[in-house]
């Protein structure tokens, strides 16, 4: 049976974000992220002073890039990418040199001191492989996040990217990030 090609990505409508951090907590609970570390975060930016003030919240995590520099620099192949685009760490192969953390333009990785390995957002592969969506996506109360398969022409994510304007962060690093921020 021929498997259909998949390419997972995340669309983020950051204007809907309330900074409630439910995504951060859901991720920690789902993936048992150690205390003091996070796999996703909400960047905050304030412009101006009251009354001419704007505050912008922007969730961010691993961009699961097309050309991930973390995978390229890894000396043992512990950082790797699945065919569906998800970038993972093979914990048994990771020697903890942290070169990938330096190579990541998005600061998406953290060092698990206890295990001596690097860890990161996995797009909740354990859920995605069962046909579910990542925990951060499921939990978001204001529906900021849309997870989906870019290869599937009928997906919501394809529709959004076809009909809305969007940006990706720091495309000049050449990593081909797959977190799409709607404008």
């Amino acid at each position: 049976m021929a498997m259909k090609k998949k390419r997972y990505a995340l669309v983020i409508d950051s204007r809907k974000c309330l900074n409630c951090k439910a995504c951060v907590v859901a991720c920690k609970a789902e993936n048992k992220v150690p205390v003091g570390h996070f796999r996703n975060r909400i960047n905050e930016e304030r412009k101006g002073e009251y009354p001419t003030l704007s505050i912008n919240f922007e969730p961010e995590q691993c961009h699961h890039c097309d050309e991930p520099s973390c995978v390229r620099v890894c000396p043992t192949g512990a950082s790797w990418q699945r065919k569906d685009g998800i970038v993972l760490v093979n914990y048994d192969e990771c020697i903890g040199c942290r070169y990938c953390m330096i190579a990541c333009p998005y600061d998406a990785r953290y060092f698990n001191e206890e295990e001596g390995v690097v860890d990161k957002c996995t797009f909740c592969v354990q859920r995605v492989d069962k046909g579910e969506v990542p925990a951060c996506v499921e939990t978001c109360p204001s529906k900021v996040r849309v997870f989906g398969d870019l290869e599937d022409p009928k997906s919501r994510i394809r529709e959004l990217l076809a009909t809305r304007r969007y940006k990706v962060k720091e495309p000049q690093t050449g990593n081909g990030p797959q977190l799409y921020y709607l404008l």
């Binding site: 960047n43 620099v73 000396p75 192949g77 020697i95 390995v117 962060k169 000049q172 050449g174 990593n175």
Partner: protein, 327 residues
């Protein structure tokens, strides 16, 4: 948030790796240069050979200790990933260390070898079979080692320079900068060791050789640092912002004061002052012991500071737009 992942151990390792590369290069060159078919600087070559493998061996040890799982370091050698500078580097480092130790062995005198093997139990016959004279290999080992020493010297820069997400590093000049800094540290360390070795006082022509070598390497390093700054300032905004770290930012003083002035310009001035009369006025090279000591020490400090500044400042530089947590 942005944190420093590579700390002082990495700085020390990059310095020691470069130092070994420089020592080997200087020693190989000293052995290669001949007058009347005899090495003109045999004592320099021997001292360099005796010193060369140790820094890199210690440095590799530190590198392994810095790993999250140090006992997994063998996995580096279960893979060869040509896209990963660290993978190429660890192979390069291993081959170079082996060559450097062989080269050291080829420079040992008969009685030194006998002394070493007298410490090994006589029943270990296989080990005692290694007690052979390989002094005829010196030149061959030196020749094989040359590209590897340059490789190790340049690799320490490539390790940083190949990281496209750090604009402070990601220029095509960092690799050469580290290479010439490594070669000059090697020449300086050799000079320091020869001057401090009171049993075999250094001769003037040897001082002159090492000082000349160092002047050449420091000048080359300067010729790379200047375009690094100028070109960076003419580059994209991210690179300019990264350079702000040494042009007004937290690393400004240490870059311009201790590194550039004390670690580069002052030793260059001392060494040129020493060489100038000998080269341009036809006078005898005076070869002051104290000046040689001062210049060599300063070069070594400068070499260390260069790596310190680059490792730390580089990790602070980023393409990431500055959004953080609100206070």
């Amino acid at each position: 948030m942005h944190e420093t992942n590579w700390g002082l151990l990495i700085v020390v390792y990059l310095f020691l790796g470069g130092l070994s590369a420089g020592l080997f290069f200087a020693s190989g060159l000293a052995n290669y240069l001949k007058v009347d078919d005899k090495p003109a600087y045999a004592r320099v070559a021997r001292m360099g050979a005796l010193l060369a493998p140790w820094p890199v061996a210690i440095g590799s040890g530190l590198l392994i200790l810095d790993l999250g799982n140090w006992y997994r370091f063998y996995k580096l050698f279960m893979h060869f990933r040509w896209e990963s500078p660290m993978s190429i580097g660890s192979w390069l480092l291993t081959v170079f260390t082996v060559i450097a130790f062989l080269y050291l062995y080829s420079w040992l005198k008969e009685d030194e070898r006998t002394w070493i093997f007298s410490k090994i139990p006589a029943s270990w016959k296989l080990v005692h079979r290694l007690n052979v004279d390989i002094s005829s290999w010196r030149e061959t080992l030196g020749m094989i080692g040359f590209p590897f020493s340059i490789g190790v010297g340049i690799y320490t820069g490539v390790l940083l320079g190949a990281v496209s997400s750090r604009p402070f590093w990601n220029t095509n000049l960092v690799a050469q900068m580290f290479l010439f800094s490594a070669l000059s540290s090697g020449a300086a360390a050799l000079l320091l060791a020869m001057v401090l070795d009171k049993k075999n006082p250094i001769e003037k022509h040897e001082t002159k050789f090492l000082v000349t070598l160092d002047v050449v390497f420091i000048s080359l390093e300067l010729f790379i640092i200047l375009p690094y700054l100028i070109h960076g300032e003419l580059s994209t905004q991210a690179v300019k912002q990264a350079l702000d770290l040494i042009l007004g930012g937290p690393f400004t003083f240490i870059f311009w004061g201790p590194f550039l002035f004390l670690g580069l310009l002052v030793p260059l001035a001392i060494e040129v002052y020493e060489l100038f009369p000998a080269i341009f006025k036809g006078r005898e090279f005076h070869g002051s012991r104290n000046l040689a000591l001062a210049a060599a020490s300063l070069v070594l400090i400068g070499g260390f500071l260069l790596r310190y500044i680059f490792v730390y400042a580089g990790q602070m530089s980023s393409f990431h737009s500055k959004m953080g947590l609100l206070q």
